[in-house]
Structure formats: structure tokens, C-alpha cells
Symmetry: C2
Subunit: 334 residues, 2 copies
């Protein structure tokens, strides 16, 4: 994350330390193997962007970071739960530079480890009572996070169904990535707000910030899956091509390419046996068709929306860091 | 459920109707395929014992059934979520007389359908605010259900690990079934209590009722897995033997049998290719060793504990039905 300002980098480090500490203190028990499986990806790394959004939003509204930790831990736990289950469904072997949970512990324990993280997320939410967040707002937070989790499941199902469809339009694609990724960022910003306020106007602007940032973030993910650097990503690229995922750059390329080039691309999309050369060739076709530029432009527009929504917050260093985070979502290289 | 009194049978029918109506009104959306997968087992049947415990407990404490429906729906949703994931892990093809979710929709969608039910359970919990349950008690209910869900995951992991162990002692077995089954019954009784009261004395007695009933219920399940009638169960028996599950009757038989008989039993336990005749032979050995009687005796003792704990409730028809439910847990044939 070298593109970030020194200030934001050290803030992320500080919040990540607090949230990780909170999670490790909260998530332990027996059987040890289950807890090791559940914590594996959290220990392996990750950017902790969602908890940072929770905590920075709370601090921007004048409350202390400490009070936001239960909600911050909860969104990170839900995020990691989805990763564990997604890796099973996508048959991915690596994430964050380490083998995935089901590769190390087998599918049954990986399914259960994900289920445990999910439950721990809602346990963590209720800790906010002990930090002095009013019960009414804790109940609201539960509803927000549960609804987001439902939406994430819908997005995951849409994503799977797209793989089997011949044609997906951009509108459906954007709806899917809102559900699969945007919804949890949306919830993160709202949860950060709920630590400090019940003001519906503020909360709905925060929702808009998180949602737009999340969509931009996912579009960037899809770009990196085709034009990223494997060494930076810590996971193999081109898996979207191999699995026939209908990501934005791919959809755009399919709408532009004709004849031989289109045929070539279609032959590789969804071909799990495709070799490295074929995958590189396909990525080149997508780039030449303008798929990357198109996706970058769209992502930039979402970032503009996110920045506009932030105007609801008082001007302070935390709002500035939330702004920088939104811009980072579309410039990141991993 | 023909062994039940007319009164309890019609109460179960009434509550099941209310809870099912609540669930169907609450759980719908897109993609339709995901929601169909998620609701499949609920539509296929089930006894709705957990929601009945929630509602009867609330009514025993003088509150209206209507107010308890969000919590009742939540425990049924969590229960069904665990069934969907357990069937994947256990590779079971049938439940409630119909093919399991992953058999019909595939594993990836089944995992996601389970995740969706989980999220919907916590959404449903927060509906209790709209029914007038105080926010403080709703937050408490979230903690209770989330903790129970964590414990269920621990129990599921223990259960899987037992399959690989040579020797499991009865104490560990009872701990596992408390976690896997007892914890959600425990939460059901507590949630029913929370609709009406914050009284810690009442809530902890209710916990004890649900926990003891749940353990008795699971022991009965293990008995039926060896000595039940397939036609009544709606699923194949002997799967515990085939999968090498260390259930109470099996553990007892292993501790009693020696020589040839023990060797014969051990050869079939965990042998997924075992034929019908071998399975029947193994079941016979377990029965002759006294495994069924031993398990029945232990289950009866838990029922006694459940009945004693109910004394905390006022004497009325709802308490009587809760008592009958506890006795039913160990006499049921399906």
C-alpha cells in the first residue's frame, strides 16, 4: 500500500492492530483445530479496509476508536467468513499468499470454520453494549449487518449463475458486485456511524459512501485479475478468465470484439484447462479491446459519488482519510 | 407424533403455521433459485420443536405468541441452516423424505443457501423491536443466539473429529451433543423467556430446561439411528454406523463387547461400503450389548432435569405442554 500517505498508512496499522487484538481476544475456544482454521486467513494478512472504515467513520463523528472495535471486528469477521466459503466454491487454492482453509483442513471443517466466524461476528456486535453504545443502536447494527450478509449471499449466488450464462449485461454485473462486495462496505460505514449517532441523514449518506467505494473496489479487483501483478497480489491472476467469470473488462471486451479475436477469447473463457500462454493471450485481447480503460473510468465515477457522500461528515482528518481510502480503492495494485 | 396429547398436537400445528407464515413472509428475494434452495428443507417438513419451545415459553410467562414469532422464526432458520451444511459435510442424500439441498442444487449453492438462512435468522431477531420487545432484550437475544451458533459449530467440529478417533469417552460424547444439539434448544427456551422478562433466575432455569431437553433429544436421535424404523424416519438408518459416528449406544457397546463380537462390530463401523446385512448385524450387536437400554436410561435422566427446571414457570397449560415436550423427546419414534 505504498501509494498511501504516511498518515493513512500509520492509521491503518494502528486500527488493524486494535482490531486484530480484539478479534484474537474474542475468537478462541475448542476444538483448537476449528479455531485455527477459522483464524487462518485473518492471521495470513489482509488490508483490514472494512474495519478501518468503521473506526474512521466513528472518529470522524467525534467518538473514540475503542467504542467502535466490536463493530469493526464484526465486519472483518463477516468478510473472512465469506472468503473461507467463497474459496471452497471457487476451488481456489491460494489467498493472501497462503493455502486456503479447505486446502489445509478439508472442506467439512472449512465450512464449519466459516460458520463459526459468522456467529462470532454477531457475538462481537453485541459487545458494543459493554462499550456504552445504546441498545437501540446495537439492535439496529445487528439488522444492518444481517441484511448486508443476506445481500452478500444473493451476490454470491448471482456470481455463480453468471458463469453459466451466455450473456450478462453491465447493469446486472453492477448489481451483482454491489451485492457481493458493496453491501459489506456499505454496512461498515453505517456501523461506524451507528457508534456515534442515530441521525438518519448521516447514516444514509454513509451508506452511499460505503456502497460506492465497495463497487469501485470490486471493479478494481476485476481489473487486477486481468492486468495486475501476480507477485503483488499474492494469488494467481487470470483465474477470472479460467473460471469464465463475467467481470466488467471481460463483458466490455465481449461487446466490442468480433470475428477471430472474439472467438479466441471465448475459447479460453471458462476453460479450466487453459494454459498460461492462452490466458495471457486472452488478457491481451481484453486490454486491446479497451476493457481495462472502460472499467477504470467507471470505477472513477463511483469514487466521485463516494467523495460527494462524505460531505455529510464534519471536516477533519478522519474524513480526509476516508476520502483518501476511496481514491485508493481505484489506484491500488493489490 | 401420534404419541402426543391432542392439546399439544394442535398447539404444535398452530405454532408451526404461525412460524412458517412468518418465515415465508420474511425470507424471499432474488435470485429465486437461491431462495428456493434455502427454503427447501423448511418446505419439506420438520417438527418445529424449537419454535414451539420459544412460543410456549413466552406464553407460559404471560406474553402473546405473536410477540415471540421473530425469535421463533430465528431459531428455526438457524436449525435449518445447520441441516443444509451438515448434509453437505456428511454427504447425506435424503432428509425429511426429500433429496438434500446439495443433491438438488449442488454444493456451492447449498453452502450459500445455508449462509443466507443464517443471515435471515439474525434479521428476524431484530424484528422483535417492531413487536415491542425492548431493545436491551433484543440485543441480549442476539448474543444468546450468536453464542449458541458458535457452540453448534464447535459441536459439529467435535463430531467430525470423533469419527477419526479410536476411542471417545462418554463425557466427551455428551459435551459434543450438548454443543451440537443442546445449545440451540437451550437458546430457544432462553429466547422465549426474553420476550417476556429480564429475570436472570428465570432465564437460567429456562436455559437448563432447553439444554437437558436437547441432550435427551439427541440421545434419542442416536437411538433411532440404530433401532428406529426407516419408514417413520424418512431417511436411511444405520448411517451413523456406516460413517463410524461414535454415538452413545455404539460407545457403550464398544466398552462391553469383546473378542469376535467386538471385531465384527469394529469391521463395520466407518465402513462406507458396508452392505445392508452387515449393518443390520452391527445394529444387532449393539442392541445385544445393552447399548440401547443404556442410552434410554441416560436420556430419561436428562428429561428429569428438564422437568425440574420448569418449576420456575407459573403453573399453566403452556408449562404443561413444555413438560410433555420434554417427555416426548425420549419417546418419539421419528
Amino acid at each position: 500500500m505504498t501509494q498511501l500517505s504516511e498518515r493513512l498508512r500509520s492509521y491503518i496499522t494502528r486500527v488493524a492492530g486494535l482490531v486484530d487484538g480484539y478479534i484474537y481476544a474474542r475468537v478462541h475456544g475448542e476444538p483448537e483445530e476449528l479455531y485455527n482454521a477459522a483464524l487462518h486467513l485473518i492471521r495470513a494478512g489482509g488490508k483490514r479496509l472494512r474495519p478501518v472504515i468503521v473506526v474512521a467513520t466513528t472518529e470522524a463523528l467525534g467518538e473514540e476508536a475503542e467504542k467502535a472495535l466490536p463493530f469493526a471486528a464484526a465486519v472483518e469477521l463477516v468478510h473472512n467468513f465469506t472468503l473461507v466459503h467463497d474459496d471452497i466454491m471457487d476451488r481456489d487454492d491460494f489467498r493472501r499468499g497462503v493455502p486456503t482453509v479447505h486446502k489445509l483442513w478439508g472442506e467439512p471443517l472449512a465450512i464449519t470454520a466459516g460458520d463459526l466466524l459468522y456467529a462470532k461476528a454477531f457475538e462481537a456486535l453485541t459487545d458494543a453494549r459493554d462499550k456504552g453504545v445504546p441498545a437501540e443502536r446495537v439492535a439496529k447494527a445487528v439488522r444492518v449487518l444481517a441484511q448486508a450478509s443476506s445481500i452478500v449471499a444473493e451476490g454470491q449466488a448471482m456470481d455463480m449463475m453468471f458463469e453459466e450464462e451466455e450473456y450478462v449485461d453491465v447493469e446486472d454485473y453492477l448489481k451483482m458486485i454491489y451485492k457481493k462486495t458493496g453491501a459489506l462496505f456499505e454496512a461498515s460505514a453505517v456501523l461506524g456511524g451507528l457508534v456515534a449517532t442515530s441521525d438518519e441523514n448521516i447514516l444514509s449518506s454513509l451508506a452511499s459512501y460505503g456502497k460506492s467505494l465497495g463497487i469501485a473496489f470490486q471493479i478494481r479487483d476485476d481489473i487486477l485479475g486481468i492486468a495486475g501483478e501476480e507477485s503483488e497480489l499474492g494469488k494467481p491472476i487470470y483465474s477470472d478468465i479460467r473460471e469464465g467469470k463475467k467481470t466488467l473488462p471481460i463483458l466490455y471486451a465481449l461487446s466490442k470484439l468480433e470475428g477471430d479475436a472474439r472467438e479466441k477469447l471465448e475459447k479460453v473463457l471458462g476453460n479450466r484447462d487453459a494454459g498460461r500462454e492462452e490466458l495471457e493471450e486472452a488478457a491481451k485481447l481484453i486490454k486491446e479491446a479497451g476493457g481495462i480503460e472502460y472499467a477504470e473510468e467507471l470505477a472513477r465515477r463511483y469514487v466521485e459519488q463516494a467523495l460527494a457522500a462524505l460531505k455529510v461528515l464534519p471536516e477533519n482528518e478522519y474524513r480526509e482519510m476516508l476520502e483518501e481510502l476511496a481514491r485508493f480503492a481505484v489506484s491500488r495494485t493489490r
